[in-house]
């Protein structure tokens, strides 16, 4: 069921990633965005492919995978409602850095990368608001990735000198 631009605008206003954007920006995004529905276990985009869209997740769960030779496909992160997906549409090499697959039926809003970038170039107010939202989302994801990397729940080793305070 297609959503009107107004419906889309309201939806974007309620999502975590786009919600804080100023009204004018939301209007612009609503006119550029389109709803995409996926079933479970469907591929949204593949690692290495050209990034022509950036997404925000409305519902469902998306898993990100990277292909590691010798290990195959490794799931590194999952995203959910309110999260932004495919930042490489906006920054970086414009190639997707992971494969995105739905874990369950999911609804996304897709924004054509090229159009968003053109708008950001011509309307700097929009550009700043959009990029700031992107930066903040990436900052939170960076901290989360660091916590993942720190392996906080690593099992204590048998080496007594590393765990000498353990009882």
């Amino acid at each position: 069921m297609p959503l009107t631009t107004n419906d889309l605008r309201e939806l974007l206003g309620s999502l975590r990633f786009t919600g804080p954007l100023p009204a004018k920006s939301l209007n612009a995004l609503a006119s550029l965005g389109s709803v995409r529905d996926y079933g479970g276990m469907e591929t949204v985009f593949r690692e290495g492919s050209a990034s022509d869209a950036t997404f925000v997740i409305v519902s469902g769960q998306i898993a990100l995978e990277m292909q590691i030779s010798g290990r195959g496909s490794v799931q590194i992160l999952s995203l959910g409602p309110g999260d932004m997906l495919a930042w490489s549409g906006m920054v970086g090499d414009r190639r997707m850095t992971a494969t995105a697959k739905t874990l369950e039926s999911s609804r996304l809003i897709a924004f054509p990368a090229q159009k968003i970038l053109e708008l950001a170039e011509s309307d700097h107010e929009f550009g700043f608001a959009w990029m700031r939202a992107l930066a903040e989302a990436l900052a939170r994801r960076l901290v989360a990735t660091r916590l993942q990397f720190l392996d906080l729940f690593a099992e204590p080793s048998d080496d007594a000198s590393q765990q000498r305070g353990a009882t």
């Binding site: 204590p156 590393q162 765990q163 000498r164 305070g165 353990a166």
Partner: protein, 398 residues
Amino acid sequence: MTNAPTRAPDPQESDAEKTDSPTPEGHVAAWWLPKADFQQLIERLESRGYEVVGPTVDQEAIVYDRIRSTDDLPRGWTDEQSPGRYRLVRRDDEAWFGFVVGPQSWKKYLFPPVATLLTSQRTEAGWRMEAPATEAPRYAILGARACEVAAIAVQDRVFAGGAYVDPLYVARRANLFVIAVQCTQAASTCFCSSMGTGPACQRGFDLALTELPHGFVVTVGSPSGQSLTEELPVRLATAAETLEAAERRDAAAAQISRHLDKHDIRNLLLNNLDHQRWDDVAERCLSCSNCTMVCPTCFCSTVVEVTDLTGDQAQRERRWDSCFNLDLAFLNGTPARPTIRSRYRQWLTHKLASWHDQFGESGCVGCGRCLTWCPVGIDLTAEVAAIRQTATAAEPAS
């Protein structure tokens, strides 16, 4: 039990006017005990089952040990102290208590360096676990300074003043007889007056003595103290004796040259946990833990499991520990304070700031031992002053 000696005749027979006037201390009666009769004090205490402990000279310092006779006291010795320095020097008189404090405190008698908390024995019916049945010793401490008496009160609050009480401490504390000796001089390291703990000792003792050349002016601080004086050849002190005693005590106060500005110190320190000064002191501090060993209020301990080869018997032994020990605090198995900077900060902020949150008072009594016995002469009064100079505005820390 020997007959209690009769009291020496009061001087009122010869000087009625003097005995009618109140003593300079007010209405508290002061007694006079001649040095010639002092040995009887020791003997009377021993006959009441006390082990008398007090200052003696050993290894070029004044330390606490068993006192059997007045000969054991450091007669004619005094101590010269400054940050990182302690020397015993002969006096030009034969004062018995002409010094201040040494590297030990009375805490070793109430909170012994090693104590068995529990013994476990494997039996056919399973483990039997019980507290050691030994009776607590009865100590009479002879020569406690005002700061030390204050320190005992601080440890009373730690070990016996909260929801959990240490029965080992309580038993020894209940058996303790305190003979305070009023300071008649101060070391350069003393700052008791800043902490409100001295130099005059006004409470917390059974008897308090002020030394004059030929004897002691004795004040009673408790019913135990009172009953002991009744067994001693004391007489009422004369007004002249009590006046001279007061003057000698005042001399101690006048000699104090070091001060700690403790205005709002709790907030000052807890609001400045990232102050540059912690880095400065960390470059000097060796983390040797001397300060915590000599401090009369430090109470950190560790409990170790001691077992024999059969594994059928085990004991839990409590030993003194120190926050300067890397192994004291752990977070998830690794040391929580791996740097000297963090450990020194922990010690000082606990002693002068957090202690207020925990026990409603300062943990420091101004005895100055930590200055004297620090190998590099760190002076906490100077550290606090340095932080105060460039501190972040002190609002109440959470």
